[in-house]
């Protein structure tokens, strides 16, 4: 019994881990990153900076 419970828990952790990897890979393919969806000042600056022909 104890062995089954141990195996089940281990399988659950491993399964969850693989699911997370699959999710991250899928998300990456869409060009998204798990870490960064913040709008920092630099990001805003990149939108407002302009260039003039010299």
């Amino acid at each position: 019994m104890a062995l089954i419970v141990n195996i089940l828990i281990t399988a659950a952790i491993v399964g969850l881990a693989f699911w997370q990897i699959v999710k991250v890979v899928r998300k990456s393919k869409q060009g998204k990153c798990a870490a960064c969806d913040y709008k920092c000042a630099a990001k805003k600056m990149s939108l407002t900076a302009k260039r003039r022909p010299s």
């Binding site: 693989f18 997370q20 990153c33 990001k43 010299s54």
Partner: protein, 665 residues
């Protein structure tokens, strides 16, 4: 419905004013063909609709986004124009005002941010300006909600049926003559309104691309036939000079001796130093050095040590005892203690460094320094065929390469955009921090900040050298100069700093629960099992086999441990997992034990070349995917992987072998 079009330079507080004038958005969407938001609002209880147009410096568009404003004048109907001008940058802002006044619709100039001007001890006579520009001039401060009610009243009382403004700028006689001829042709042959015909002619002479397309589409011969003459006579330059001369003369007349500037113009004083042609760059380097001092020496590492002591001590042992007590079998205990706690916990202990660095970046952003950094780098960037604008995606890349590459979208030239996307992964992103922290603490305890600084700048140098090579290969020449608004400096607000830090740092915690967790379990599985089942000795595991297989290739860069190779492989999933993998492979959750193990495997020189390799080698999976998405081809993504691997190997060999020759070890 009366339409009020809101024009203005970028960063003049136009949107704030829009929000003050309107009570709710009546419509929000995109302008066709571009990603710019189209906002239309209604002044409450009236039939006045306000259209917020994209910020522009002139009606001559440089980008598709900017063309929205000019096309609005060319093709859509509007009754009143409100021109929002930054009061402290009047000389430049009024250039746009002149173009709008020449359009001939009833126009109101709102001198916004009037407080900034007063701080400088300058004031202008409103009536002199109104007379010179033949329109209503109002002083506003949209942030402080001053003057906005007056502006609202002025808009409501402005009768669109009134004769339009009769502003007439005294252009040189050759231009006046040409305008006269063009207007005659346009009014008689095409039935144009004289005022509109005049505006069209001036814009055409001024080389406005959007107007040029319009004129070509409509086949307006009076203008098209004269185009070579206008160009030969340099009308564009003459028009600009005439406008500038008029503005300077007007401002001189309108300027009043303001009260003594109580608040000295600190911004200008600081800028004289930090954007200095010679001092600018060393200051930029110095600020980064200070940032790493705070991150590694003063705040980050000491806090991280406390956290590490907790994770490797009480947390690990309590978890282990508890697992034994509840009857967990050895493999589950190993998974939780040696896998999860060591790996995920081992990476999470670097949270203080990550948060300290993000706090420093947030302070720089909020203080207004970031725009100066881009300006300082502009000179260096122009030498490699890029300009300061391309540096902004690189700065973002210090946080994470993915949004960095996405930010390269804003670069108009396709070749420059591609180059920026390709060099972005060499920026040292925050995911590399945990492994830097681990190694600098182990091998360079006294020079942590200097070593990390050198890695960051090595990344920049490699990126710039590559940009130069790509410039030669792609024949990309930057034909534009960089322009950026330099916001006033202000003391960073604690609430904003905290918000910025948390916004950036929460991604790291989120990754710990997703990709680092996944990577850790994967590496635990590969290290727990081998070809013959459960590996009693980690040296017989799959991880060891894979690592040992690649090890000979890495001997020239000083690597003698297969664990480091395996760690680099998992690093492709996410760079944070490199540290987690080492923790799992050395079966430790404690940094002290790991550092002792590493000391047998690395010398300071090989540790440094390993860090250099990690800095430059294959970008993480998310970055590869975003390169594919942004360049539209797997070819560039594959190129990025292969080229970065070769470059990393080459530079690491150079450092290790060169270091040996110089007598380092």
């Amino acid at each position: 419905m009366t339409t009020v079009a809101l024009f203005g330079n970028p960063n003049t507080g136009k949107t704030t004013l829009f929000n003050r004038l309107t009570d709710s958005y009546a419509y929000m969407g995109n302008w066709s063909g571009v990603t710019v938001e189209k906002k239309v609002g209604v002044i409450k209880n009236t039939n006045f609709a306000i259209v917020d147009l994209p910020g522009i410096y002139s009606l001559n568009p440089l980008t598709k986004d900017e063309a929205v404003a000019t096309n609005f004048l060319l093709t859509e109907d509007q009754n009143i124009i409100v021109d929002v001008a930054n009061a402290s940058q009047l000389k430049r802002n009024l250039l746009l005002s002149i173009e709008l006044l020449e359009y001939g619709k009833p126009t109101i100039i709102a001198l916004n941010m009037i407080d900034s001007l007063r701080k400088m001890g300058i004031s202008y006579n409103q009536h002199v300006l109104a007379k010179a520009f033949d329109c209503t001039v109002l002083m506003t401060n949209a942030r402080g909600n001053k003057g906005t009610q007056e502006l609202k009243q002025e808009i409501l009382t402005e009768d669109p049926c009134l004769p339009p403004t009769n502003f007439d700028l005294p252009y040189p006689s050759s231009i006046q003559q040409a305008i006269k001829q063009a207007v005659e042709g346009l009014t008689t042959e095409y039935n144009f309104n004289p005022r509109y015909a005049k505006w069209l002619a001036i814009q055409f002479m001024n080389g406005n691309d959007a107007v040029l397309s319009f004129v070509e589409a409509q086949e307006l011969k009076p203008l098209l036939d004269q185009a070579p003459y206008y160009r030969a006579q340099h009308f564009e330059d003459k028009i600009y000079q005439a406008r500038l001369g008029f503005i300077e003369a007007t401002l001189k007349t309108a300027r009043e001796a303001g009260a003594d500037p109580r608040v000295r113009d600190i911004t200008a004083k600081i800028d004289r130093v930090v954007t200095h042609p010679v001092l600018g760059l060393p200051i930029f380097v110095g600020i980064f050095f200070l940032m790493f001092k705070i991150t590694f020496d003063w705040i980050g590492t000491p806090l991280s040590n406390l956290l590490d002591a907790f994770v490797s001590g009480p947390l690990s042992s309590t978890a282990d005892h508890w697992l034994v007590a509840v009857g967990a079998l050895p493999f589950l205990r190993s998974l939780i203690v040696n896998g999860l706690i060591s790996g995920v916990g081992g990476v999470l202990v670097f949270m203080p460094q990550i948060f300290a660095l993000f706090a420093c970046i947030s302070i720089l952003e909020d203080s207004g320094y970031m725009a100066r950094a881009a300006l300082v780098m502009d000179k260096l960037m122009s030498k490699v065929g890029l300009n300061g604008k391309a540096f902004i995606p690189l700065i973002i890349g210090f946080g994470c390469n993915v949004p960095g590459i996405m930010a390269a979208r804003t670069i108009e030239q396709p070749k420059e955009r591609l180059i920026t996307s390709l060099i972005s992964p060499y920026m040292s992103c925050s995911a590399r921090l945990p492994i830097y922290s681990l190694f600098v603490a182990a091998f360079f305890a006294k020079n942590q900040a200097v070593i990390v600084l050198s890695l960051y700048f090595l990344g920049i140098v490699v990126a710039l050298v590559l940009a130069k090579i790509y410039q030669k290969v792609f024949h990309s020449e930057s034909e534009s100069v960089f322009m950026i608004e330099l916001p006033e400096y202000h003391l960073p607000q604690p609430a904003i700093i905290w918000h910025g830090t948390w916004d950036k740092g929460k991604g790291f915690i989120h990754k710990a629960g997703t990709v680092i967790f996944g990577g850790t379990v994967l590496i635990w599985l590969l290290s727990y099992f081998g070809p013959s089942g459960i590996a009693n000795n980690i040296g017989d595991s799959f991880t060891a086999l894979i690592g040992q297989f690649f090890l000979p290739i890495f001997i020239p860069i000083g690597l003698v441990s297969w664990q480091a190779i395996s760690a680099m492989l998992t690093g492709i999933l996410a760079k944070e997992t490199i540290g987690a993998t080492l923790m799992v492979l050395y079966h430790t959750s404690g940094r002290t034990v790991l550092v002792a193990s590493l000391a047998h495997m690395f010398t300071p020189l090989s540790a440094y070349s390993f860090l250099v390799f990690i800095l430059l080698y294959i970008p993480c999976f998310a970055t590869i995917a975003v390169i594919k998405a942004e360049t539209g081809s797997w070819k560039w993504a594959a190129y990025s992987v292969v080229s970065s691997l070769i470059i990393a190997y080459f530079v690491a060999v150079l450092i290790f072998q060169g270091g040996l020759l110089l007598g380092f070890h």
